[in-house]
């Protein structure tokens, strides 16, 4: 296991504060999304509570021209990339499978089937390499994904083709109800060796450690030195999704050690110790977060219902066959407005 990277890494006070700000904002969004689900505005919500440091640290460490290939829990990362949270929630409201333009934000759609995005990320990165560009791909997945065949195949491809990928495992210790010790007998970080590249395990609740590790890995990939694997150890403080009841498989007392390592609180304490965060700034950030939550709520509830024919038929083929267009017409003819 590599040494924990040095903190601070040449970030300015503004940048250091901004890491805190981003974490606070995305946590507030996460909480608001849960409330919205409880209020019936969303069909489902999967909290990323407790994983803010990994999501923020990693996203900020990548360049804006880099690409991020998420699984389905990286809502915080999407927000850091500038995607509007209210619009994003359309996904969980049953309105759309793809609420943002992947090319605009360089952020691929959420992938529900575990680990299937990892080969996509590798292929994409191989393409970047073929293009001779500097772009790097950050591929994000959880601990459960490392058991899937697709994950191993993709890691192997990445090693063989020296794909410029940063593989980031958000090891939040749980795959729904299955704890890490039942997910794998080995080490996630050490698997990289088997595929011909380096792997590190870091404290996923230390935003600076995450930033540092991801930045280093991205730089390596950018220099043409191939992929890396980062296992960021964190904890899923919430349920797998709003349809899950964690009390059935873990005790509240299990969470206690992780509460004391809360990524936002520990970072805030460090910032204060460095005189980089005062009350005024903290309050201002909290207020900003509240404003974001209110705006997110309002936007979500005003999301228009897309036309059914368009939603169902428009994004199936790039060149729809005539017979397909006829089916669309026939379908539209069967619709009438509900009084």
């Amino acid at each position: 296991m590599a040494e924990k990277p040095l903190a601070a890494d040449g970030l300015s006070p503004q940048q250091l504060l901004d890491l805190y700000r981003k974490m606070v904002i995305i946590r507030r969004a996460d909480q608001e999304a849960l409330n919205l689900q409880r209020q019936g505005e969303l069909g489902l919500w999967g909290q990323f509570l407790g994983q803010e440091a990994t999501q923020v640290g990693a996203t900020v460490a990548m360049e804006s021209t880099d690409w991020i290939v998420p699984s389905y829990r990286e809502f915080g990362m999407a927000m850091c990339r500038g995607i509007d949270p209210g619009e994003m929630l359309g996904y969980f409201r049953g309105l759309t499978h793809g609420p943002w333009d992947p090319r605009r934000y360089r952020f691929l759609p959420f992938t529900i089937s575990v680990a299937t995005q990892v080969p996509h990320a590798v292929g994409f990165a191989m393409g970047c390499r073929l293009d001779g560009s500097r772009e790097v791909v950050l591929c994000v997945f959880g601990d459960g994904a490392t058991s899937e065949g697709d994950w191993h195949e993709a890691m192997n491809f990445a090693g063989v083709f020296q794909a410029p990928v940063v593989f980031l495992c958000q090891n939040n210790q749980w795959a729904i109800s299955v704890p890490l010790r039942r997910q794998t007998a080995g080490s996630i970080a050490e698997r990289a060796q088997g595929y011909g590249f380096a792997g590190v395990r870091i404290d996923g609740n230390d935003v600076l450690a995450v930033f540092s590790a991801v930045r280093s890995a991205a730089d390596r990939a950018r220099r043409g030195e191939g992929p890396s694997l980062i296992e960021a150890v964190t904890y899923r403080m919430g349920a797998h999704t709003s349809a899950d009841d964690p009390t059935r498989y873990r005790l509240d007392s299990d969470l206690a050690p992780w509460s004391s390592r809360d990524p936002i609180e520990t970072y805030a304490a460090w910032l204060r110790s460095q005189a980089l965060l005062d009350e005024g700034q903290a309050d201002s950030i909290d207020a900003e977060a509240e404003g974001m939550a209110e705006a997110m709520r309002g936007k979500l509830r005003r999301l228009p219902l897309p036309s059914p024919a368009a939603s169902l038929f428009d994004r199936v083929y790039h060149d729809p066959p005539a017979s397909f267009l006829k089916e669309r017409e026939e379908f539209e003819a069967t619709l009438e407005p509900v009084e």
Binding site: N35, R38, Q39, G40, G43, A243, D244, D245, T247, P308
Partner: protein, 404 residues
């Protein structure tokens, strides 16, 4: 201040209800958005439900321990401002499982009377079954005008156009030129249906007729007796009763030929069709379960049926299901008898002639006796001459043995 009611959402992918554990607010309480309202327990978890709106709690619906269905009212809140209120036109909240479209949305058009599919097919339009039938009946489809949607040729069209197999029909000709003074009578409705039924009979049933004369003296005596008792009665009920009795002895006459399964279906029930001349044409109302009825009942019901047929007031049930038919042949005038046509899908039709005085030989003497002709036409596939004779003989016997 708008009062809005927050209903219980589906909290976990298809739940149908939740049990209220406890309230965290009471009527009158002021709440902000996301303030905890209550705790509910679902099949999956205990969940705290946050308020969707800011305002004052008006009503809490449900008591701790009560089970609340998804979609039922949970809390009514007087919303503090319009910004916190439900946006206009917003449909039903989304967390209630799979939802049906609400106002302002679209849905699939409900089933309605189907407009016939406008087919662009050229040439003869007829379903495979209809073509098969046309082949069987020797019908040239190109000469048939289809009465189905869009000019499709239906089975009825083919049956109507059918020519009998055993009569060499005239070759299809061009329609005749109209001659001066010729009258063209439109054939629709009942007349058309009768025509179809007649065609079906003569083209599918090989039938022959046997004749007999019976001595109606006893029948007329019984009629007189009934009339004197204040219950006038026509001969028809006696005919029907006798027919029923004869059928009891020769049930094969109360049957049907099932082409599709190569079987003769001997009917258990005896439903007698009574041929009636009406202003609209020949109708055959049906006297059901005639074998269960007394003479009086037969008389009463048959006369109701005849009246109803003439008046056009009978139901479809009254008009269908006969297993054997009786008809008048020569009810008046000099007509003695005739050859009735079997009423498909039956096996036998019995024609009764008018009762009048005729010369008959009784005890070697020629005498004038009340008598009448009976003619039965039968399906030769089911009944041969011998059986027909037996049946007719039985019929005559019954009629001649009537007691007052």
């Amino acid at each position: 201040m708008a009062e809005r009611t927050f209903v219980l959402p589906d909290l976990g992918e298809g739940l149908t209800e939740a049990q209220l554990v406890r309230w965290r607010v009471e009527p009158g309480a002021r709440v902000e958005v996301n303030a905890p309202l209550c705790e509910v327990e679902t099949a999956k978890a205990v969940v705290v439900i946050p308020s969707p709106w800011a305002g004052t709690v008006r009503t809490v619906h449900g008591r701790p321990g009560e089970s609340i269905p998804v979609g039922a009212a949970l809390v009514t809140i007087a919303a503090a401002d319009e910004a916190g209120a439900q946006p206009e036109g917003e449909a039903v909240l989304v967390g209630y499982g799979s939802r049906t479209p609400g106002p302002g949305e679209v849905r699939r058009r409900p089933r309605s009377s189907a407009s016939p599919s406008a087919s662009t097919e050229e040439g003869v339009r007829a379903a495979p079954f209809v073509r098969q039938l046309a082949r069987e009946l020797g019908v040239d489809l190109t000469a048939v005008a289809g009465s189905g949607p869009g000019g499709r040729i239906t089975r009825a069209d083919v049956e109507a156009a059918a020519r009998p197999d055993d009569r060499p029909g005239p070759p299809p000709q061009a329609p005749e030129a109209d001659h001066d003074g010729d009258q063209r009578i439109s054939v629709v409705g009942i007349r058309k249906a009768i025509a179809r039924q007649m065609m079906r009979s003569v083209s599918t049933i090989p039938q022959f007729t046997e004749f007999a004369v019976f001595d109606a003296t006893a029948l007329m005596a019984a009629r007189d007796a009934a009339r004197h008792k204040g219950r006038p009665i026509t001969p028809l009920p006696y005919f029907i009763l006798a027919a029923v009795e004869a059928v009891r002895r020769h049930p094969l006459l109360n049957s049907s030929w099932d082409e599709s399964r190569d079987e003769i279906v001997v009917k258990k029930s005896v439903h007698v069709g009574i041929a009636v001349n009406t202003p609209n044409g020949l109708l055959v109302p049906v006297l059901r379960d005639a074998d269960q009825l007394s003479l009086e009942a037969i008389a009463e019901r048959s006369s109701r049926l005849i009246e109803g047929a003439r008046g056009g007031s009978l139901s479809p049930r009254d008009m269908s299901g006969s297993t054997i038919t009786v008809t008048n042949v020569g009810a008046s005038g000099p007509i003695e008898t005739g050859t009735p046509i079997v009423n498909p899908p039956e096996c036998c039709v019995i024609g009764f002639g008018a009762i009048r005085l005729r010369p008959m030989v009784v005890d070697s003497q020629v005498m004038a006796r009340q008598s009448a002709w009976i003619s039965i036409s039968v399906d030769h596939r089911i009944v041969d001459g011998g059986l027909a004779t037996e049946f007719l003989t039985a019929l005559v016997g019954e009629l001649e043995a009537i007691r007052a």
